[in-house]
């Protein structure tokens, strides 16, 4: 508030500047005069791709203090030329969504509520169930004696929103496990 000297009183500024009617220069506040966009004050800008549809619009992700503060279209992209649809424009809210879940939750059989579970335990529990169900439903051969070498105990759905690298690992793991029932949105 140090700048609240009499000389900065807009009434005085009205006289000092040409802004007699107090509708422009004289009326500005210090905050206004120091205004800078958060796209400029961001620590870094990261190039990304919109996570919604398959057009593949380029995005620029602005990061400040390790938080995403803004996501905009990437004008360099020959596909989208900086433009985004409403969903793409809402990407920042997707990342910082008020309803986003940050913790692992567990519902036990017949349970009526979620319970907290730490991530390591959860993955270990899933791995154990994976191994068990894989064995429970293993099929070595079919009725005619032909090799099947698969399990019908485990299925997966999803992938169209995931990265190529992720889909690659999922398919590889499932194939090695003999789990064939793996599908994604391409067929939905």
């Amino acid at each position: 508030m140090g700048r609240l000297s009499t000389l900065q009183w807009p009434v005085v500024r009205q006289l000092r500047t040409g802004d007699r009617t107090g509708r422009g220069v004289a009326a500005t506040s210090p905050t206004t005069r120091d205004l800078q966009p958060r796209t400029t004050t961001a620590d870094r800008v990261v190039q990304s791709v919109c996570p919604y549809c398959a057009v593949g619009c380029g995005q620029q992700v602005y990061v400040k203090d390790e938080k995403v503060v803004q996501i905009e279209g990437d004008p360099d992209s020959p596909i989208s030329r900086g433009r985004l649809c409403p969903k793409g424009s809402a990407s920042e809210q997707l990342v910082n969504a008020p309803g986003r879940q940050y913790e692992v939750l567990y519902r036990k059989p017949r349970g009526t509520q979620w319970e907290r579970l730490d991530r390591d335990s959860a993955i270990e529990m899933i791995a154990q169930r994976f191994v068990q169900s894989r064995r429970n439903r293993w099929q070595e051969r079919d009725d005619e004696g032909r090799i099947l070498r698969r399990t019908m105990g485990i299925a997966s759905l999803g992938g169209a929103t995931l990265d190529n690298e992720e889909n690659y690992l999922i398919k590889k793991l499932f194939t090695a496990a003999g789990a064939i029932q793996i599908e994604n949105q391409a067929r939905i």
């Binding site: 009183w9 807009p10 009434v11």
Partner: protein, 323 residues
Amino acid sequence: MVPEVEFTSYYGRAIVKPPPWGDLIASYLFLGGVAGGSGLLAFGAQLTGRKLLCRNARLGAIAAVSIGGAALVADLGRPDRFYNMLRTIKPTSPMSIGSWILTAYSGGMGVAAVSEIDRLTRNRLPLGPFRGLLSFAEPVGGAVAAAFGPPLAAYTAVLLSDTANPTWNAAHRDLPFVFVSSASLAASGLAMVTTPTRETRPARVLAVIGVAGDLIGTRWMERRMDPVAAEPLHQGRPGTLLRWSERLAAAGGFGALLLGGHRLPAALAGIALLGASACTRFGILEAGINSAKDPRYTIEPQRRRLEERRAAGITDDSITTVG
């Protein structure tokens, strides 16, 4: 309610927005008028030696302006920033000008009122060395309040009219006359309530003039308004309020004229006048709010004046152009 008229709108949505003003602002309009009129009465009494009238008008004025000012602040979206009203002097903003008027008036009246209170409390106010100054300042304060009283009563009319509100704006030529009349009769009414009849004759005269001005001014104003824009003044709650305003004003005016010499009838007449002024302010405010809730009041008068200009061969001033 509004008769069905052939006009196009966007799903019946209003075009202009009503300001976020409610009863607090209507109260301020009323109290500001009371204060403005009382400033004049007090000064007249001060000059003519009507001590009781002077005291009561001053105390009434300071009460009105204090409560009105508080209402004004309470109505702000950010009351903690009320002082920003004095951040600029904007000739284009009636609210800005009004804030300075209100400040000047309050200053003057404040000094005068403090003197009155000090007298009433037999010098018990902790004024210290300022008590001496006060005897000089008091008459000046009274004069300042009187000078800024009429502007205080009148500026609120400009405040309402200098908007895109269909009804208020359509009344922009004549609303000040209605408002100063209403302020005069209200301040007079207050004096008739608070002050013995022996000192209130000027107040009664002013009341009668105010009532005449109010009744004639309102009719004249409506005649000059676009008929559609004037409709909200007759409909719903504002219509009722304004009808009551007329009745109360007439009753109060006759009361002041015929029975003003008798204490009780005079007080009753004064109450009627105060009621009339309050009804006027609440009615006009609400009518304007209502006019901003129906697109018809914006579109029809604008369409009409546009067509009239075009018919008159003026085609270069439309917001819609083909190139």
